[in-house]
Symmetry: D3
Subunit: 219 residues, 6 copies
């Protein structure tokens, strides 16, 4: 009934995997995702700041770190559910809210309750920080889908997720950081060299030939 | 858009793990759980039948095999949620229902739609078969919790689950099979010898001594 | 020494993996396989029944649920062994039989011994139910091989298994359910869209273009 | 060659496990650890702030998020090495530094190089933020060791790590947050109820008795 | 059809796990086991050599490295089977022999066939090297069982395996290396300090007290 | 403080994975790698021997079995580090050396210290056995990279490793065994049939047609 339980619970987020029930080559936990989102917001806000925006960094990082803590109470609902039923999603948010409230009342020492209530609120509001969080959350999802597609995952769901995530990101094109993402990062992503099996043969042949001519020269 | 997708989706149930977000020594998938429940109802109904009850075996097995198929659409919501909020659970049932309906409309050839709609309905009704399913579902949950406790899992949640599951089973004491479970099976379970570290020393010593005296005798 | 041990042993089937010793992207346990076979016989028998056949549903489901329980005693012998040496396979069946017998004598309360001896017998006999089981067992194997091939598994063994499994299924073409499998399900399977890496580029470009023209229109 | 590679590399931190080569019941990746450290510094700094200290929150969170990024280049060296040879550790820090430098030169667009050079520097300096990071890093290590000990890990290394981590934390007793940790959190941790096997019997008996007396009363 | 396939097959031994179908905290592959047996024979033969025995080292190491290669064709049959039915075990040996023969005929270049036929033969003969192999194989099995017991595995099977393995080792007491094992190594094993949960409290208290008195002294 | 700890430590090598921090379809432990290297040197030395070279087999096998034991103290440093900084690698070798020395002093009974000091020394010297070990170590690395490329791993690192490993092997072309590797084994490797998705369709069609014509013939 205190911070010990809170610290201990962080480890449980390492055991909640995103997108359960679809075959994946690589699993991603909610804990890992939160770390990646925090790192992505760091970059996006750096671009915003360079573009002249005033960033509230403390709020930004706290939004990123805490944005999925409530999945501890609910787990990660299946992606198809999320995309098929916006109503359920909203309702889920409400339940998450009330469970978080209950958790704070039961587990948190009273002197920290207020500040954590603020921190555990839904972070994706209309502020600059809320919008950066929304973008970063989708960028990490896009990378998860891209990673599966690149590894040859035949599930068409990952194409859907890729599309849905990119589509959400594009809605924030008024942000300088999103424009940087589209014009620079995304370009790098889709032009990535595709590892092909034939490449191994050419490497092999090239090496063998260079060594052979080297040997010939020595004679 | 057909039975191929349905058959393929069965494999996704192998990737949905029960009780996500709590440390476990052994994971159990929804597919494995369904197999175990089917095997448990087989035994319980055998007892009921010996007790003179009329069992509708076809219905019983179909209830067991299909009872968690809808988790494909929703995932396995976290146990604490299930136990903390009966309202959410109910709501989830509704969502599962409507998603199942939608799935049948979209994926199933029309000639099979009706029979599968029946099969995918909530199975735990007031019929004998529905009650046997309810008991078997809790017996498997009890075994999952028992397995973790026996292996030394320090999470107190498993004691809660054990207690909750046993408590639910006891509500069906009017069934002969539940009485058999309580008076015979549960008794075996709780009297199980506890592997202790000291045992290895006594085995070692006993073996060494028997060999030594054997050697002595030979001289 | 009783049903407790029997219930507990079900969990061990979750730890026996099929086709050991070959690289797989996705593992399948004997427990999961049994669940899938039970679900597949349910469908095949539905087709048979619609075709006018009399199905003994109780027997059918019990055959499916129990058909690999004896692997608990023996493990899953390696697929190449199974296919290379029919004699060994037969012999293995015998050993499985005698071990099952011994297990029943030692572990099962006498009042259930007879009914379980019947249930643990080799299920793939010449009855309609035995033949449906034989087909369903091969359909699940076909899906396992298909899943690996689709994910890019370079082991040629999976092509062999695919071929062998399909070949076995085709021997039951006199069954209406097998004809449905060939003419409808298999067709869906082999015409499945192949996820290609290029697809991600086209999705990306299409989205970007539609957004750009949308932006242009707004000006 | 750009931020795409940087974002993609975050996922590699999900595949570097801490304390390699010792048996663990639960693995922790560098990515998960970074998330947990960020969450722990959030709490510690909240205590410091309540105590009247001026916290540079932006710097604090960036220290936490980035503090192990360089393990991407070097992996997580084995704990015994870390503790046995302080010289090697220092040398490793140097190598990490030069590799990080090289990485920034090669991969990062020039406009972000300077700010990230600052961010990727060793964070555990003598500032309040650097000291909070040092404490949080050890608190998470303490929890990792505690988790293994609690689950029954027989490796004595985890006792060593527990001791070493706690000892390091105690060196920062002048911080209000460390005093809170010692007097409140640590107390909760060591008084945690130990799950014992006997507890399951008492739960079982209590439930059975309450139900029996309930039944008796009804008659 | 050649050495390439042979080299590639070594990796398959990494995917065959010993004792399938029993819950284990730690899995051991046939590849890992072979490495450990090779390392154990190295030690045992060092003792024999010091005792004045003539060791044929080449033969010894080849026996160790190759002794389970044939499991590639057959998998690791379940331990209970091995112990319950000596007849089956013998028969399995025969099958392994004939499959190995067939494999050599089909896969191996003729110039190496004879030497590998010798290497793939059952290694546990009556020679000194064969007996050392038999002992080392059981020592590794003993360590596998000990590791599970020490971690708290409740399966009584591991006590059986421990007992059976130790019993087999003791039959070779005429070997100097086995006497060394019994009088020195086994003694260390069973006197190993048992990690207890209470230890963490005493470490904590001791550290806190030493720090407190240190603080008091400074004043 | 004796051979028991040494035997027990072998199991820790099963938990150190090679190339940490890069996505892999298949993990390889240091224990498995050591087994494979021992098996590969066995073959290479067989070729050398047939070529008329005098092989010191005892030394050869001990070099292979022990060559990575020191990773127990240091873990497997990340491949990019190894390849980027030869200086660090050398320094690491020194540290490994001194840690091994310390380990022998602390853990090993004095009568075995000298022989194990010899065994734990860097094995890749200029002797025939040292050179065979160097080649075998790279051959196994080549197979690891080939395995990932063949399974579709998009990480370009594996092409680098493949190239670097092959390049190292080619430097030993004066060995008859390396020439055999290049002219026979490598040829088999790169001409390996690539499993393609289309193959499954042709198998399916061929089988269906053969069965249909068979059916036609029967009429």
């Amino acid at each position: 009934m205190g911070i010990h339980k809170y610290f201990q619970s962080l480890s449980d987020l390492e055991g909640i995997y995103r997108c359960p029930g679809v075959f994946k080559y690589q699993e991603h936990s909610v804990a890992s995702h939160s770390f990646k989102v925090a790192t992505i917001v760091q970059f996006l806000a750096t671009v915003e700041s360079a573009d002249g925006q005033e960033v509230d960094w403390k709020t930004l990082y706290e939004k990123a770190i805490n944005h999925d803590y409530s999945e501890l109470f609910t787990g990660d609902i299946k992606t198809p559910v999320k995309y098929a039923l916006p109503k359920l999603r909203e309702l889920f948010s409400q339940v998450e809210g009330s469970m978080t409230h209950e958790y704070l009342d039961k587990e948190f020492p009273s002197q920290f309750r207020k500040v954590y209530e603020e921190r555990f609120k839904e972070g994706k509001d209309q502020s600059l920080e809320g919008r950066i969080l929304a973008v970063a959350d989708k960028i990490d999802l896009l990378y998860e889908a891209f990673g599966e597609i690149q590894k040859g995952n035949p599930e068409s769901l990952f194409f859907q997720i890729y599309k849905e995530a990119l589509s959400s990101i594009l809605q924030f094109r008024d942000l300088a950081s999103v424009r940087y993402f589209i014009h620079v990062i995304l370009k790098e992503m889709i032009s990535e060299e595709i590892s092909s099996h034939t490449r191994i043969r050419s490497i092999t042949k090239a090496l063998l030939q260079s060594k052979e001519s080297e040997t010939a020269r020595k004679k």
